[in-house]
Symmetry: C2
Subunit: 239 residues, 2 copies
């Protein structure tokens, strides 16, 4: 295989059928996104119970319900390309469960920040990877992306909480850093174990055996980090 998975995907819509590495990578990608949405659904729905008011509770529940729609769309796509969705998701069950175990919010504000950070990084990541996908998978990923961004209400709530008690800022800033740290830590485990997926995301192992496209991954991480910092500022938190 001499062509990079990325260029194959962007040039050739039939890559999914023609190329085993690309197919493995897309199955992994759909699997991790689907299971990520399923767990986000479960956890956001549970976190809604922490809300001080019924309005807030309903709003976080609505975000959770959107995650279930995304899960369904991603699962359907796996079925469409002839894959057992549960099998595709299985490798990501433990790392995603571990992430949520390590980041169970202890109160409503922590739950809000987690929803906002997750929603934001989700959108950014979905957009980043869309470029490297065959058109049908790309359309699906972008469709899910458009349905995200329901977390704008969080900004008001967090800013009001900080205005009412400035000590909240330090605690939530620390919390947001922990969320990102745990996410990166689990992402590293996944990357180490899922070669095809990693190859798709960071560029491909080419003919020369030069390994990962480190420039591309560094640029992507830097974009994701910038966007995360921008969101932390919107919340009134130091990043």
């Amino acid at each position: 295989m001499g062509t990079s998975l990325r260029s194959m995907a962007s040039i050739d819509g039939e890559a999914l059928a023609a190329n085993d590495d690309y197919r493995s990578a897309v199955i992994d990608l759909l699997g991790v996104l689907a299971y990520g949405e399923l767990m986000a659904f479960e956890r956001l729905a549970a976190d809604a119970a922490l809300a001080p008011t019924i309005e807030d509770e309903a709003q976080l529940a609505a975000m959770a319900a959107a995650e279930f729609r995304h899960f369904s769309r991603l699962r359907d796509r796996l079925v469409e390309i002839g894959v057992d969705p549960a099998e595709a998701m299985q490798p990501f069950r433990a790392p995603l469960a571990r992430f949520h175990e390590m980041t169970a919010p202890s109160d409503w504000l922590e739950g809000l920040v987690k929803a906002y950070v997750g929603d934001g990084i989700g959108i950014d990541f979905y957009r980043e990877i869309a470029t490297y996908l065959d058109p049908r998978t790309r359309d699906l990923v972008l469709e899910v992306c458009e349905d995200l961004g329901q977390s704008a209400f969080v900004v008001d709530r967090v800013r009001a909480a900080i205005a009412a008690d400035p000590r909240v800022e330090g605690r939530l800033a620390l919390w947001a850093r922990r969320l990102v740290g745990e996410a990166l830590s689990q992402a590293q485990h996944v990357a180490a174990e899922r070669e095809a997926l990693t190859a798709l995301l960071v560029g491909d192992v080419g003919d020369e055996g030069t390994g990962m496209d480190l420039t591309a991954i560094a640029t992507m991480l830097s974009r994701l980090t910038d966007e995360h910092s921008r969101r932390m500022q919107a919340l009134g938190l130091a990043s």
Copy 2:
């Protein structure tokens, strides 16, 4: 007011506008159903995380997602009749939260039985009350009803668990009794505090001040209990 709320509702579709007692009762009814669905959504979604397999997890999550649709429809109806949904739900927040606090499943099987019992009693109760509602509210309640009944998969899972370990039966039968006991206990609190709602559900206080239609409520409770016993049998549990 000499006519019973029930006959008024069944005869007159305009009862909602014309009769204050009926209007209060319907607001309470939509409020308790809406908040019940919202909390069921949160708890079922969280309970999905207890599933042994991803297939089971996705199936319970799908039931939870359906509860959110019901919540949205009931909330929209409250808005339609000019009521603040959060205000209508507020009186039922504490008793419903208390019910779920007292019945947090300690494992997957308890979560399954809770979902099945709740889904079943939900359908029965929705059908019971539909008769006494004005046509538009009735259509909505029946629509929600049709979307319930997603819990058939539970029967297989519980029967398989009992076959694998017969001791499970006694534990789950006890658990189901506790669920019903806690539900009745919270229902009694609600009934005592929400007069208009109670009047709608159990018949009306007529001219003679004879109080509740005790025959009707006894018959309804006996029907609900029969259906519950039938479901326990389906699960292989003594009721």
